[in-house]
């Protein structure tokens, strides 16, 4: 059982305010991912929760108890570091038992708890080894084991997978997700990798320059980004942004005109906007389609392929349209376009987003059904 409440949290280094007035609620057993570009303050925020960094202002409460001044170990948290931070001179077992040893737990009990954690993480054959004799993935598992042994109220992960190679990262990602299900623990996970955020989180907190841009479920952020920043950050490849002007505002949506005169109707409310206002049209690469010349209509953008990346199962095309603007398109693996081929791109207005020039999104008229999928309660026992 652990809920976390952050109220008006601030962090100041000298004259620089790295975190400004941040508030956030984390529910019991929730898997929350803090995501954002480097330097956005996500690691600092995690370290403040951990107690490794002083909180300059505001209140941090765990289970309704203010913990601002409590030392790290008294907050009932455990942290997994990016560098693993194992004690190099201790065996795997001693590494995992260190906290219990400091707490004065008897040797038998210590060994029993370490054995239990080792079983969950398949570390039993490695217990007598020193960290330097382990591979990266094994070290990370020991670091997680060290956290489990303490039976913390909240697990904190600081970019735990960024030192692993791609294949191992996928495997550990699944393992951590499984662990979350079986331990029923609250977890806070920091990453700059939006794929990790999308795949693991119950709730994603997108941070930018010291403040929260948006909080929501992965698909909520994907389908209903509230700002240009979130739209660009969530989704891979990145959303395409095209300069446009409002053509007309109506009850069933807003129509915009691109620089070449192409009109696109987007189902968002154009409240407060008037014809001629500059906006940014957002189109996800997966929502762009390439159309053959014989099917072309007036609403298509003509362009040229600049780079083609073929991954086998899918193809990314980087195209140039509208006098030098780059649009990315994600298509099936069987696409035959080559570099310098002419291409026609069709924009489906129904899936597009519109952003005002202050970066805020115009609200969609209807919610995407997928955005609320994760909000459905999971039946007990269904997971894991």
């Amino acid at each position: 059982m652990a809920t976390l409440t952050l109220r008006n949290i601030k962090k100041v280094y000298g004259d620089v305010e790295v975190i400004q007035d941040l508030s956030l609620d984390i529910e019991d057993r929730e898997f929350v991912v803090l995501v954002g570009p480097s330097g956005c303050g996500k690691s600092t925020l995690l370290r403040m929760i951990a107690g490794l960094e002083e909180i300059s202002g505001g209140d941090l409460s765990i289970d309704d108890e203010r913990v601002n001044e409590l030392p790290p170990d008294r907050r009932g948290l455990a942290m997994v570091f990016q560098s693993y931070a194992l004690y190099p001179h201790m065996t795997v077992a001693d590494n995992m038992a260190f906290a219990l040893r400091l707490a004065g737990v008897s040797r038998e009990e210590r060994m029993a708890k370490v054995g239990e954690a080792a079983k969950i993480l398949h570390l039993e054959p490695l217990l007598d080894r020193k960290p330097r004799a382990l591979s990266g993935g094994q070290r990370q598992r020991v670091a997680i084991g060290r956290a489990i042994v303490r039976e913390p109220r909240v697990f904190l992960f600081d970019e735990p997978l960024s030192n692993l190679d791609a294949a191992l990262r996928v495997q550990m990602r699944i393992e951590i997700a499984r662990l979350h299900n079986s331990l029923d623990a609250t977890m806070i996970y920091v990453t700059h990798d939006q794929v990790e955020a999308m795949t693991m989180a119950d709730k994603i907190v997108v941070m930018n320059a010291g403040h929260i841009e948006q909080v929501g479920s992965p698909l909520d952020l994907y389908h209903h980004p509230e700002s240009l920043f979130v739209a660009g950050f969530i989704g891979s490849p990145k959303m395409n942004f095209i300069e446009a002007k409002i053509a007309s505002v109506g009850g069933d949506g807003t129509k915009v005109a691109l620089s070449d005169g192409t009109k696109v109707a987007v189902p968002v409310s154009g409240g407060g906007m008037s014809s001629g206002d500059a906006v940014t049209l957002g189109v996800r690469p997966e929502d762009l389609t390439a159309v053959a010349n014989d099917q072309a209509t007036g609403g298509d953008l003509a362009g040229r392929v600049v780079v083609a990346e073929r991954l086998g199962g899918e193809t990314f095309l980087y195209t140039e349209v509208l006098d030098g603007q780059t649009l990315n398109l994600k298509g099936p693996g069987a696409m035959t376009y080559r570099v310098n081929d002419a291409i026609r791109l069709r924009i489906d207005g129904a899936t597009c987003h519109l952003f005002r020039d202050d970066g805020k999104a115009l609200p969609r008229l209807a919610r995407n059904p997928m955005a609320d999928l994760d909000a459905e309660p999971v039946a007990p026992g269904a997971a894991g």
Partner: protein, 273 residues
């Protein structure tokens, strides 16, 4: 011969020449200690002579070598331990909790080494007289510890800097107090660095002459005082002086030889990584 091999040969030759030059005075002193006083002062240096142990006998007869050696051991190891007790927490604080003034503090500490010791001789002497620390082990232990403290803090600081901060933070998350952090994590991880720092401190204290000559007479006099007593007003006795010096440096030479691996590793630690 290929150039790379010739280059290697030249380098090792150069290395041997430099090593010989550095070692030569010690070698010469060692040889002189086995000469008669007459041979020792002869104008033409000779390496072929009838070796004799009479100097060693004479030296031992005039002064009790082992008492001086014991004093040297007590003082140099005692001062090293005392200095480490203060330097480890200081270096820990500066390496892991630096403030705006940490750099300045470190430089200031080092700057105290630039003061000629004789500048503070009179006040220190008077303080020691009042505290009855003159000619006592404790007195020299304190002076040597203070003398070496800046260097020890600096060395430990650089060693501690090499320890990843994350590891200590993990310890803090696991509930370690600062003292437990030092005891269970930082010190075990820095054993090579602490050992070479200690070694250097022992050697520096062993060779120190200024304070030991001025603050001791008989009871706590270390080997440096023992040597000095042979450059006596009665005249110069090169052979006996050499014998005394050889006996004085022998223990530290052997000690240094045994731990040279540790010493070299410590002094170049962090240089290649």
């Amino acid at each position: 011969m290929p150039t790379s091999q010739r280059h290697k040969l030249m380098m090792s030759l150069l290395g041997w020449v430099v090593a010989f030059l550095v070692f030569f005075p010690i070698l010469w002193m060692f040889l002189t200690s086995f000469k008669t006083e007459l041979d020792a002062v002869s104008g033409t240096p000779n390496i072929f002579f009838e070796p004799t142990l009479e100097n060693y006998a004479a030296v031992q007869e005039r002064a009790d070598y082992f008492r001086f050696a014991m004093n040297s051991i007590i003082i140099s190891f005692g001062s090293t331990i005392l200095a480490l007790v203060f330097a480890i927490p200081a270096a820990y604080a500066m390496a892991f909790f630096p403030s705006k003034r940490t750099r300045g503090t470190l430089l200031w500490m080092l700057s105290t080494k630039m003061l000629p010791p004789v500048g503070v001789l009179v006040p220190v002497y008077l303080i020691f007289r009042d505290l009855q620390l003159l000619d006592s082990h404790l007195g020299l232990v304190i002076v040597f510890a203070l003398m070496n403290l800046p260097i020890i803090v600096w060395m430990l600081f650089t060693f501690f800097k090499e320890v990843p901060k994350d590891i200590l933070e993990a310890g803090r998350m696991d509930g370690a107090s600062p003292r437990q952090e030092l005891r269970f994590i930082l010190i075990p991880l820095s054993v090579p660095g602490i050992a070479s720092t200690g070694l250097l401190s022992v050697i520096l204290a062993w060779n120190e002459a200024f304070w030991s000559l001025n603050l001791t007479t008989v009871a706590a006099a270390p080997l440096t005082a023992f040597i000095a007593s042979f450059s006596s007003p009665e005249g110069l006795f090169w052979a006996k002086l050499s014998a005394a010096s050889t006996m004085a440096i022998a223990p530290i030479l052997i000690f240094g030889w045994l731990s040279q691996k540790q010493l070299v590793r410590g002094l170049t630690f962090g240089a290649v990584k």
